[in-house]
């Protein structure tokens, strides 16, 4: 198959996924108990005002009619207005998405920066003290809940040592990096543990492969052997793993954004689910579904570049 055909097939997959997600999220939100009108009007609402508001918002129409409107909105990328905040959903997402992208991006980079060197150390000294220590630490950070790690970092590094601000967001790109460092580190820790374990295993496997012994026997420098042969081959499954964890990174962002008071889409999503803000949940889910699909596509492409066996 040509590259173009592969790409076309993958894009079709993405389109199908997005349509399925759209159906699912509409169904989920509408079959979930709870009513946005009640949440908006609160505990004091009378039956008359509830009926009036329901009519004004179009919730007294049939589910089919509402679904039709939802489809129309989706095809024109118009997600309508937020029910609670009464502003266009698009503008809400536009304001928040960069923050979450930056947060998850930084988290990925930090996870790699932590995982790759440690995996090498552990793999090269397999069974040694360093290996044992690294494995214990990764096990601990893997089993600690994200909000707990976040609070510990906040109390020690921010409130205690004052190295970092206690949550919030900065003013401008550089300050944002400073503010987002701790939340990104929080997200990165558990991810790096997963990557570390996987990369360590693959490294050990590759280190014992015959072509590595051959390369060493050929008299290649150790650095060249490790970089060109060992890492390149050990990478492949780690990259796939990283791609697969993009979703959980976005999920973790929901919690970190709450603990660190970061105004990103994670918090927007949680708030909107709790207040049954259908419009925001649906719009945001669609945007995230497309983004995660695109990342999966990118990971596949990267994998194909690293490993000629893939995609043939």
């Amino acid at each position: 198959m040509t590259l173009l055909a592969i790409l076309a097939r993958r894009l079709l997959h993405i389109a199908a996924t997005v349509v399925l997600v759209a159906l699912l999220i509409f169904a989920l939100m509408h079959f979930l108990p709870g009513d946005p009108v009640l949440m908006l009007l609160g505990e004091r609402a009378t039956d008359a005002s509830i009926a009036q508001m329901r009519h004004a918002m179009g919730f007294d129409r049939t589910v089919l009619e509402q679904f039709w409107e939802f489809l129309l909105h989706m095809t024109t990328l118009q997600f309508g207005d937020s029910i609670t905040m009464r502003v266009p959903v698009v503008s809400l997402i536009r304001d928040r998405l960069p923050v979450t992208l930056m947060l998850t991006g930084m988290a990925m980079m930090l996870a790699l920066l932590i995982a790759v060197p440690l995996a090498f150390v552990a793999a090269l000294r397999q069974g040694g003290i360093a290996d044992a220590v690294i494995r214990v630490i990764s096990q601990v950070s893997l089993s600690m809940p994200v909000f707990y790690i976040g609070l510990i970092l906040l109390i020690t590094l921010a409130a205690g040592l004052r190295w970092f601000p206690v949550g919030g967001i900065g003013n401008g790109f550089l300050e944002d990096i400073y503010y987002l460092f701790l939340p990104a580190l929080t997200l990165a820790l558990s991810l790096s543990a997963i990557l570390l374990r996987n990369l360590r295993e693959s490294l050990i496997e590759v280190l014992h492969a015959e072509y590595v012994s051959f390369a060493t026997a050929k008299g290649l420098m150790r650095r060249t052997v490790l970089g060109r042969h060992v890492l390149r081959n050990a990478w492949i499954s780690t990259i796939t793993l990283l791609g697969l964890h993009i979703g959980s990174l976005v999920g973790g962002a929901v919690i970190t954004e709450t603990v660190f008071a970061v105004p990103g889409v994670g918090r927007l999503m949680i708030d909107s689910i709790f207040s049954r803000d259908y419009a925001v949940v649906q719009g945001l889910t669609m945007v995230l579904a497309v983004m995660v699909s695109v990342v999966f596509l990118a990971v596949d492409a990267l994998q194909a570049m690293l490993d000629p066996r893939v995609g043939a």
């Binding site: 609160g42 005002s49 906040l154 109390i155 921010a158 409130a159 206690v166 709450t258 008071a261 927007l268």
Partner: protein, 527 residues
């Protein structure tokens, strides 16, 4: 004359003893951490506390509630007159009033704002507070006349309530949109009002900045204009622990909604001022009093003796310790004691297991039964109080089951009366007993807060009190309503709790009034 002289003398003495009040520092930014952001800043179209509680900073009202909440003071109106029959109210506006953009605040704006706020179609959730107004006239450039359908004892407090905020007809109707509702949406993004502050920037769920309104009418004691602060910056920090950490690090000046469990610790912090503002707020448990539950099973809570028994079996002092760490006080009425015309003779249903057992036996339920209570999932408070009550009620053979539900599901079930018992919280929005009574005790509005409890005499007394201008008679009516409600016990009476707010010591004169409104007009930052 003698009395005047004596008064003057004591005033001079007091002044000499305490010296002049230290001059308030002008300028600066106050950073205030909120747990949740506002949603919509048109005072007529919101029912959310996060909107209501800052509304008076942005939109001024004709009258202002006095500090104790029991009376009103002049606001945008410098003076007012009520006719003998209570059916005509004449307001004289202050000269030279302006909105925050410098445009004049006209009597036509007052008429337009109040007409909109009281309208059935455009008036929103709180229109009922102004429902007794028949029509509004203006005379000349400074007089507004309210013609009433009937005398209304609450109208003055209603005019000091957020939804009666005066808005600019010109600015709101100039906003884009085909209908008034659409215009309101656009306007509320960048609202310009008549209050001491004006919104200058808003990033949803992140931060909101209010700057001082240079055209605000009210002068400070030194004759210079209020407010003192240049800006109030609200930052949204949903996590309780983070809010407190940020305050301790000095990155913010004020943190609201401090968990009660941390009040003692923060009181001991020398850098902080931990304040418990008295609140018109009650914590209680609503009971479904219908003979059968939604699923068709028989409901023992239909029997008033059973409801009274459960009330006696609840140790309120223990609950106050568990939930509010001793900061709360037991309920003496269904309404908070700071509500005007509240009536209480002491804590209702003092803890008495023997009495509870006897009442249950009289009701033929000596063998006990099971009650299911809806709790808010993830709420530490709900879990704490309900597990304490499980043990208390076990002593009279009642098995309390806890059903954890998230807010939207719980509200939907409650509204459909598909519940047996639930945890409830009420905060007054107006300095008058009529709002809480209309919702909790008066059946026609929503079956007495969905409990299904009805006392015809209570409904009758409430209808009468709505037109009763004689404060003494009205107080008698309300006393009877509260006694009947206490005896009928459609709720488990629990506690009143304060608003816990922590702030740096340098923050002076910030107030959260019992209704919850955050008032920054006199706030300043000490040098």
């Amino acid at each position: 004359m003698k009395r005047l002289a004596a008064g003057l003398l004591s005033a001079i003495l007091a002044f000499a003893l305490t010296g002049p009040a230290p001059a308030a520092n002008r300028g600066g930014t106050l950073v205030f951490a909120r747990a949740i952001d506002s949603q919509f800043l048109d005072p007529v179209h919101t029912a959310q506390n996060a909107d209501i509680w800052i509304s008076l900073n942005l939109y001024d009202t004709l009258l202002l509630a006095s500090a104790d909440g029991k009376s009103t003071e002049p606001g945008l109106a410098a003076a007012f007159k009520v006719s003998e029959d209570g059916k005509t109210l004449t307001f004289t506006m202050r000269p030279g009033l302006k909105f925050a953009d410098g445009s004049p605040l006209l009597v036509s704006d007052v008429k337009w704002s109040l007409d909109r706020a009281r309208s059935k179609e455009e008036g929103g959730e709180f229109a009922f507070l102004l429902a007794s107004i028949a029509s509004i006239d203006t005379e000349g450039s400074d007089t507004v006349v309210l013609h009433m359908k009937h005398p209304d004892p609450t109208i003055l407090q209603a005019l000091a309530t957020f939804n009666a905020g005066i808005m600019s007809e010109k600015l709101l109707t100039a906003a884009p949109g085909a209908t008034l509702q659409e215009k309101s949406k656009a306007f509320a993004e960048h609202p310009i009002g008549s209050g001491p502050f004006v919104l200058t920037s808003w990033q949803r769920n992140a931060e909101m900045v209010m700057s001082r309104n240079p055209y605000y009418w009210k002068p400070a004691a030194d004759g210079k204009p209020l407010p003192y602060l240049d800006t109030v910056k609200f930052v949204i920090i949903p996590d309780d622990a983070t809010r407190i950490l940020k305050l301790k690090a000095g990155e913010i000046d004020v943190a609201e909604f401090v968990p009660y469990s941390r009040v003692t610790e923060l009181k001991g912090d020398p850098k902080l001022n931990m304040v418990l503002f008295p609140a018109a707020q009650v914590n209680y448990f609503a009971l479904n009093t219908r003979p059968t539950l939604k699923d068709g099973t028989k409901n023992p809570l239909n029997d008033v003796r059973v409801r009274q028994a459960l009330n006696y079996a609840t140790d309120k002092d223990a609950l106050i310790q568990v939930v509010s760490y001793g900061t709360g006080t037991p309920q003496q009425s269904f309404m908070p004691m700071s509500t005007p015309l509240s009536y209480g003779e002491g804590p209702l249903y003092p803890y008495d297991i023997a009495k509870a057992k006897k009442l249950l036996a009289d009701a033929g339920l000596a063998g006990g039964f099971e009650v299911t209570c809806m709790a808010l999932a993830g709420s530490a408070d709900d879990t704490a109080k309900l597990s304490a009550m499980q043990q208390m009620w076990a002593q009279i053979g009642v098995k309390l089951k806890i059903e954890q539900l998230e807010a939207a599901t719980r509200l939907a079930r409650y509204n459909a009366t598909d519940f047996q018992m639930r945890t409830s919280l009420w905060t007054n929005d107006i300095n008058d007993p009529n709002e809480i009574t209309s919702i909790l005790a008066y059946y026609p509005t929503r079956q007495s807060a969905r409990t299904g409890w009805q006392d015809k005499r209570v409904d009758e007394l409430f209808d009468m009190s709505q037109e009763e201008l004689d404060p003494a008679k009205r107080a008698t009516q309300y006393k009877e309503i509260q006694q009947l409600y206490a005896a009928g016990a459609p709720i488990i009476f629990s506690m009143e709790v304060p608003y816990p707010v922590a702030m740096l010591k340098k923050v002076k004169d910030f107030v959260q009034i019992p209704l919850g409104n955050n008032i920054f007009i006199d706030t300043y930052i000490d040098k």
